[in-house]
């Protein structure tokens, strides 16, 4: 599975299991306005690490906090490339 569909599916799964109403998933969606809370993002990052084998938040030297869904996907896609390269 490539990164983007895995992330979008994860947002939907976590929203459903945490009983949150998810905003439409567009690249310019502000994550904090997506309907998900911090706990949801914590679960998304942890379970994506299990599925994809990496966690770009913990791997990065500079800590980065994405603002939009597009930033979030890019962050993972860039990390996935580095993961393959290394």
């Amino acid at each position: 599975m490539t990164v983007r569909p895995a992330i979008l599916a994860k947002f939907k799964d976590v929203a459903a299991s945490q009983e949150k109403t998810l905003a439409p998933l567009t690249d310019d969606l502000v994550l904090l306005e997506s309907g998900l809370d911090s706990l949801c993002f914590a679960i998304i990052v942890a379970t994506l690490e299990d599925d994809l084998g990496f966690d770009p938040f913990s791997a990065a030297d500079d800590v980065y906090f994405p603002v939009t869904l597009g930033d979030f996907v890019n962050f993972y896609e860039t990390a996935a490339l580095e993961n393959v390269a290394s």
Binding site: S38, A42, V63, Y64
Partner: protein, 460 residues
């Protein structure tokens, strides 16, 4: 000085610039001059003299007003945090000897307690000076405890304000803000700094969206802003973060890792950034302002300001006049050891010349500032007839510091592990708060035991 002269209201009245200072709530801003010289309780304030008063308000602003009104008047104030459940109220009333209630919005749970009620009005009346209390008022706060009946500690205003430096006259006026609720220790510290340090404060109400709060903090010109690392990570993810330009920002309540400190420095380059250590039981410990995670090992075994610190059996112990006086609950253990030190339960490890927090003793997990006791979750999992044993632990997480995961040993091999997992998790969702529900659950063949036959917990 009599207790009334040292009360919050008396100190506030003697402070400067009362006409220019305000408490800003989402739809209301009150001048401290109006608050200091009037009462929102009316004639009932007199009737509360010498009583043990439960402060159960829906709004944060009302809770702040109640504290200013009742300190120096009531014998004891019991400050309910917003997440305290209605079901806990009868137990709290019995344990803390409550004999009156101050509230803003009447609820069936408040009325069912059958005690004298004192509503905080929306308007102020001239203050009819009540009889002063014979002794300083006790401030009863709830600890960020984990299971069972809520645990309460008694503080005195003198201890609560022990870390607050006297205001510098002529300095730029400070506008304080916090992501904490002021009914918790970390938030109350900020309210007291604003009131006694001659500043203003922006109060948040439960459920206020972060973008709205950041917008208000920006509009009111917040200069000093505090929260947990998890609060700050949310700020870093918010486009509304550009609304604020604080001169000082502080992290407390969780481990401040180097990542979040660096990210804040990059996002707010003009701000001084500090991280502080405090607990509801031990009071304010220390503050670190060098931008590095952990704290200098030299602070331990010496005197750090008026606080003495020791590391014994791997956990940090603190002794100072800022600590709580005692627990209110009769069945609670002693608050201090024989030498007056409070065991924080926070484990530290020395790396080079610094000490770093590495977690909580007993496996307690800190999920975004909320403490979680693994045994409570294990008990829920173990109730499932298909489960033989469960071990709940924390997993590091870049968003909330940690999340909860569980290893489960089944009684018999399951035909359908996925269905069983769903059943166990659904029981957890039914019986536990969302942050306590395991976010990962795996079936394992066995769990490690200690020589004493207990589950082996990392760091226990």
């Amino acid at each position: 000085m009599s207790p009334a002269d040292a009360s919050l209201r008396a100190t506030l009245r003697a402070s400067w610039r009362l006409n220019a200072r305000r408490l800003f709530a989402p739809r209301r801003a009150l001048k401290l001059a109006d608050i200091a010289g009037a009462t929102a309780l009316g004639w009932r304030l007199r009737a509360l003299a010498g009583r043990s008063v439960l402060i159960r308000t829906a709004s944060t602003l009302a809770a702040a007003l109640a504290l200013i009104e009742l300190d120096g008047v009531a014998r004891r104030m019991v400050l309910c945090p917003p997440d305290l459940k209605d079901e806990a109220l009868p137990g709290v009333v019995a344990t803390a000897g409550v004999d009156a209630i101050v509230f803003d919005e009447p609820t069936p749970a408040i009325e069912a307690l059958g005690l004298p009620l004192a509503p905080l009005g929306p308007s102020f009346e001239p203050l009819d000076e009540p009889a002063a209390c014979a002794a300083p008022t006790e401030w009863v706060m709830f600890t960020s405890g984990t299971t069972g009946a809520p645990k309460m500690v008694v503080h005195m205003l003198e201890g609560l304000t022990g870390a607050i430096k006297p205001p510098v006259r002529g300095a730029a006026p400070r506008v304080w803000g916090t992501f904490y609720d002021i009914r918790r220790y970390g938030g109350l510290q900020i309210l007291l700094r604003a009131l006694l340090g001659e500043g203003s404060m922006v109060l948040t109400e439960p459920g206020e969206p972060l973008a709205d709060l950041l917008g208000r903090l920006g509009r009111h010109g917040v200069t000093h802003l505090t929260g947990t690392p998890s609060h700050w990570r949310r700020v870093l993810m918010s486009p509304a973060a550009s609304a604020i330009a604080p001169a000082y920002l502080r992290l407390s309540g969780e481990i401040a890792d180097q990542g979040v400190l660096d990210a804040l420095k990059a996002r707010f380059p003009a701000a001084a950034i500090g991280h502080a250590y405090a607990s509801t039981e031990a009071g304010v410990g220390f503050e670190v302002n060098d931008g590095l995670a952990g704290f200098p090992a030299s602070l331990v075994d010496g005197l750090c300001g008026d606080v003495e610190m020791r590391v014994i059996d791997g956990t940090l112990r603190l002794r100072s006049g800022r600590r709580a006086r005692s627990y209110v609950n009769p069945d609670a253990p002693a608050l201090t050891d024989a030498h007056g030190f409070v065991d924080s339960g926070d484990m530290v490890e020395q790396r080079g010349d610094r000490l770093h927090f590495v977690g909580r003793r007993g496996g307690i997990i800190n999920v975004g500032g909320l403490k979680v006791c693994p045994e409570e979750i294990e008990a829920v999992i173990n109730r499932h007839p298909g489960v033989r044993a469960a071990l709940v632990k924390g997993r590091r997480n870049p968003i909330t510091g940690a999340i909860v995961v569980a290893d489960v040993v089944l009684a018999d091999a399951a035909n359908d592990e996925a269905a069983l997992k769903a059943e166990i998790l659904s029981a957890c969702r039914r019986d536990l708060a969302p942050h306590k529900v395991p976010t990962g659950l795996r079936f394992v063949p066995a769990l490690a035991m200690t020589a004493g036959g207990k589950l082996e917990r990392a760091g226990a």
